[in-house]
Symmetry: D2
Subunit: 210 residues, 4 copies
């Protein structure tokens, strides 16, 4: 699907969870994502897209997962989901640590929007991401980052429910397994994303400015 | 996972999209779901759970997809998702038709809650489902119905983001393919559902009343 | 405040609750709103704005309150608000009755959007109004209708929280008392509405346009 | 209205914006709220309720307004509301300053929940307050803090739209004028709050417990 035309003043790039714990060697989840992420060039692709979007004047948004802090999650919660229990147990993205810091190349610049932290998987749920997109006049959203069948899938689903037009970049997302990648890219996202493109295609599309 | 204890006065059963177009022979989507739905006994399981929940005093909620009406979707919309384009093209669940009516055995009874119709996949998005659950004091949600990797997956994800504890019943949901079932039951829902059980297990769990 | 410039393709007119029960002689709430509504010309102003908006190509949206149906509200709800208890007691906007029908001149035309019914006061809460506005590319919202300090105030507050720019038309809203009008127009809405204008000013603003 | 019975394990106390800028001598907004706040004993009442709630085992939640940071609000926003423009101009609740710190007696304790910061007036909008309340099983919400006709009114309206039962404490809220107090306490909140009580009544109600 490449019939999407981007109005760049209405287009946002959403970078989901570019934490060291996820996408840097030495991160807590790196051993789990390494196989996919190294094979599909996820990190260099994410960076290439970030740079192309900045050059094209596409506004940049970041959707960060809750940085773990003492007392988080189920210590006082009565109801929880397995993914939250895992996050609490592993203390992923711990606040104030290297793992809970964005990988260096993904440090937000002035004028770029870092949404409030999300507790589960959707970058929209219980955060200000939707209002930030609206305040900036965004209708078309390019989604990249981690992890395919959890945060990416949930964020794409929410974006569509909320009325955004979504482009997912197939080789700028990663996951724990190829089965998860396939579930997202072949079974689920084709229902929601208006376009699923490669990094190469995307960069070409947003360079062709009107 | 069978360590969930249900407080029945805080438990709701959510039946998603039990339309004739989906789960009855002759429905528009029946040819696509038949293989899975007949093999796993989805419809009789849904019915068995509905009856068990009613007997146990679990309140029943229905999450219906938008019934197609003339002018819906992309005629005036500027942004749309593929799943909405398909729905518009196929006129699924057309309002006022047999296909857009709940299968007979799933007719809501007095005191059962039919949420507002959803435009995409989540029974929560842009509807009153969350407030209806809150008004009835529900915290634990049992999810059954159609279709595994679209409405069921989205509804489960939203439920968890909103703070509900979700139980998914593996043989009371259906889909277009076994790959979709596997994506939902083995890859995605285990992150979100507090329990994934069979109909037999569920019926046993909600009969064991405190 | 008249420094708002409207981009008409991004502007929507939102008509809140133009039910006979509210704004027609003989309606259940008419005796309560008559004094204000007759004095400020609310109904003819609403109509004048509707016609001007249609002529200017501004898309029209309607936000209808829940039409009362048997079993609604607190019969099974565990928690309720006084305004909902009143609505249940008085059976206002009863479904299928004249009182629960839009006043004749406000019948929606083809291509105009009627949002899902709201249970309380905000036209956005638990409805599809936000997604409908997004799907039509709306960022600027002109709000008219009933009743100043309940549905209008709540809808304006929600619109702003969600990121819309709001214009409120001071003589195209009504209420039970001048105190309520003053609370809305002088104390509350000035915090949220980007502009509060008269019908005359509004009509002029949306006519002066390419 | 004093017919509300509290189930203390389902009851939360919500303290809205107890910033030095609002409720401490020397704060940026103190000159504007002083008259009302000193006359109705708002701050000592807020403290009395906080202590009573802690003693009764009622869980405590805080809803903090966005702490101003460089670049906030309309520098990149295309749409804004007057209240946000004022906040940006006055740099209220500036992050890292005394004014943007909770008044000393209102420092959250371990196990108490500080919701994400809100950009406008509702403690719920674009934050995690709703999910935090759900995760802790809360259905009844006692609301205190600042400022009557903006954050308090919006938070109460949102709470009710979302399905919570609200108690507002009339002498534990403050505002810029008696007109604003009257608008909230006599005209608006009676539609939404299940109970409006004095501090004395509230403390008595949550002490009388099985």
């Amino acid at each position: 699907m490449t019939d999407v035309a981007y109005r760049l003043d209405q287009t946002g790039l959403l970078v989901v969870d570019p934490y060291n714990d996820f996408i840097s060697d030495g991160g807590k989840l790196w051993p789990r994502v390494r196989e996919v992420v190294q094979a599909n060039g996820c990190v260099p692709h994410m960076l290439e897209i970030l740079q192309a979007a900045r050059s094209a004047g596409v506004r940049i948004f970041f959707a960060p997962h809750r940085r773990w802090r003492a007392g988080d999650y189920n210590e006082t919660w009565k109801f929880w989901a397995p993914i939250q229990e895992s996050a609490a147990r592993a203390k992923v993205f711990a606040d104030g640590t290297w793992g809970g810091t964005f990988r260096d190349e993904f440090t937000p610049r002035q004028g770029e929007v870092v949404a409030l932290e999300h507790w589960c998987s959707s970058g929209f749920a219980n955060t200000d991401l939707d209002v930030q997109l609206k305040k900036h006049g965004i209708h078309q959203l390019i989604v990249i980052g981690m992890r395919a069948n959890t945060c990416i899938d949930s964020t794409v689903r929410y974006a569509v429910e909320l009325g955004y037009e979504v482009t997912l970049v197939s080789d700028a997302i990663g996951s724990y397994s190829w089965d998860e990648m396939k579930a997202t890219l072949e079974l689920n996202a084709p229902n929601y994303a208006r376009a699923i493109v490669s990094t190469k295609e995307l960069v070409s599309l947003i360079q062709l400015r009107p």
